[in-house]
Symmetry: none
Subunit: 220 residues, 4 copies
Amino acid sequence: MHDESAETAERRAVGAPPQRIGRPRSTTADDAILAAARALLAEGGWAGLTMGDVATRAGVAKTTLYRRWHSKHDLAIAAVAEMLGTLRLPDRGPDLRADIEDVVRRFAALLGRPEMRTALMGLVADSTSDPALRRRIREEVVDPQKRLVVEGRARAEARGEITAPGDIDVDLIFDVIAGTVVQHVLVSAEPASDNWIQRFTTFVATALLPHPGQPAHPPA
Amino acid sequence: MHDESAETAERRAVGAPPQRIGRPRSTTADDAILAAARALLAEGGWAGLTMGDVATRAGVAKTTLYRRWHSKHDLAIAAVAEMLGTLRLPDRGPDLRADIEDVVRRFAALLGRPEMRTALMGLVADSTSDPALRRRIREEVVDPQKRLVVEGRARAEARGEITAPGDIDVDLIFDVIAGTVVQHVLVSAEPASDNWIQRFTTFVATALLPHPGQPAHPPA
Amino acid sequence: MHDESAETAERRAVGAPPQRIGRPRSTTADDAILAAARALLAEGGWAGLTMGDVATRAGVAKTTLYRRWHSKHDLAIAAVAEMLGTLRLPDRGPDLRADIEDVVRRFAALLGRPEMRTALMGLVADSTSDPALRRRIREEVVDPQKRLVVEGRARAEARGEITAPGDIDVDLIFDVIAGTVVQHVLVSAEPASDNWIQRFTTFVATALLPHPGQPAHPPA
Amino acid sequence: MHDESAETAERRAVGAPPQRIGRPRSTTADDAILAAARALLAEGGWAGLTMGDVATRAGVAKTTLYRRWHSKHDLAIAAVAEMLGTLRLPDRGPDLRADIEDVVRRFAALLGRPEMRTALMGLVADSTSDPALRRRIREEVVDPQKRLVVEGRARAEARGEITAPGDIDVDLIFDVIAGTVVQHVLVSAEPASDNWIQRFTTFVATALLPHPGQPAHPPA
DNA sequence: GGGTAAGCGAGACGGTACGTCATGTCTTAAC
DNA sequence: GTTAAGACATGACGTACCGTCTCGCTTACCC
């Protein structure tokens, strides 16, 4: 999401010092900017995220902002990606159902944060008529989260709940979970209550393991 | 969604002439405005929908536009609701699976239209920080579509596929179907291929009827 | 200097009412804007004349400013022309020398006003690399003042001080008077004292009437 | 006009080596910078003279530029002074009229160069609201040129054209010549044709020597 | 059929954000 | 201590859109 992230990664990969000529960029500015962006998103929604206000609140000049992120979209992607990167699948899941429930609960909690939901929906909205933006969102925001489904599948296989990994269609499961939670929390605008989480988890688990108590793939 | 729709409906309901004093509103303006709005949404996305351009393209003054809809949001809601109102569940479904498949296919097709997806996502995005807007969207755009799920449930019951209507959680099913299709088409940005529709339909049908070939509720 | 001055003049010439469709422009805004521009020029010089500050000080939106004047240059030309338009040649001149002295004194006084000198020099400076601007300045600001020289020549002829109007080269006299006063007041930066005015007037009068006490054109 | 020119001159005067501790300043940078400044002035006018572009075109860092000249104004003064320093009064003048004509022609030619006129007018414009800048311009740019008038007066006296040097008011003559040429060339925007130069020269010569063929100061 | 009230087109209006550019200062590592 | 490179705070630029307003004109009904 950064201007020169690719270049930076390359230099690090070959072990070269990340030093460039000229005055180095302020190391504190990035964090201050992202924090300001999140605060403004939480306070004023997508329309409240203005580059001028972000700069002012971060104690930074607009030029400094634009030097790092070329647009409001770039900035929002960075903020969203950072927040989504904190999603984890905890180890304590005894079975697949618990893992599903846990990821639903955590994702719903994340969408409960106003800065998260306004940024995410603002980006998705703008991406509907901007294929390049849509690709970037998918690559930098959405796809990385599929790791949660992949990991959940691996655990289920290790536990013997499923025998063939092909039984779990990662992309479909991801779209069902992410889409349904977004729809419920943001569109239907109802809180993700414990009861709802249980009902949805049952729905997903039933679809994945239709015959509880029987082997997923009967020997006959 | 209209300025005085409630009043108009009431007057019509009691048989009173809808006539008011003064020059009556142009009868052709509404359609021209909505058509212009849809065209602009299709061409320029949510940002391309500007009130000035809508007025110009509809051959109407901005005054006329604002007299009918109070804001860009109102106008977009009207345009979206009109499009969504065309969704139907055809009679020819032999079983629940076919009905599910059909509604998924039709909804995905609707989201394939750029004016639909940009308006819908633009509204949802703005609604994340505007509770009043969110309520209006839910009441005028989202909830009316739940009729499709209600009708599908009634058919399944009539066919004997389900015995207790309580087995079908209308709100949850609706969120799963709508949310997943939106996520797949708009976020994951992949076409709603026949193959994908089959896979998703199987997923939903499995969750609803986990034991095909057996009674949903075994007599014992 | 105005957006549609030509059009306005034309309409007035044919006696048509100056009414146009749409909301008419605020009649007070023009004066408020020009007053604000002059105040800012006086306080902050040419660099202090910013469109944003003019709008704020005039209690007007920037759009209103740009609707009337397309640029800072247009605005400055309007302000300068208005001030220069007040220059007059009083009737009380008994002879050519008195008329010269008077116009020098008045022009020097005008250049003593900071809003006048900053606007004038700012325009001239920018016009050195902008032929279109230079032409506009000449036509709307400079050339109209040559009327003073023309009128002075007519008076001198009426008094018999000169016999052939060709003796007075209007353009040259104008450049000498205007240029010398500007150079003295703005570049040499010395006040236009009475003593200096007398010396300069003598210089010009001597050049124009080299043989005082003798007929300008000796009979022989 | 240079940062440390006085210091440098002093050191050279006493024969001390101009060496100071640390890396010595590049000896070629000054010329490269001034050349770049003149080129940018000629191409883009006063607004085209940006410190960043000067540095880039001179192949020099902005640091280097600001170490030598404190501001854009300083740099422009240096460029202008260097160009004006080339003005000379040739020896071949047979009489005062020829000397006047010659200086007018040379000054007009100098103002015909775009880098000269844009820089000069830019500086004068900014100086109208900056007394310190005005003083520097007068001292470093304007006043040194008065030597031409002084020299012309000395020659006229040597030739016997005038008897009392007091007859020639140096400051006034200078303002008349410089001001009129600037007004004609830059404001009235007409070329300094031979014909115009002749007319202006006659004007000035008449004012200075009103009775050709007679002694300027009759013995009686 | 004249009065009255609202609709209508046109466009001015105040406000706000945009993304770019220039100034003059500062901070690095290299020379 | 100079140099190249470039980051930095500040602030103006001219454009675009929003939603409101103010005109003169038009179109209906209602007395």
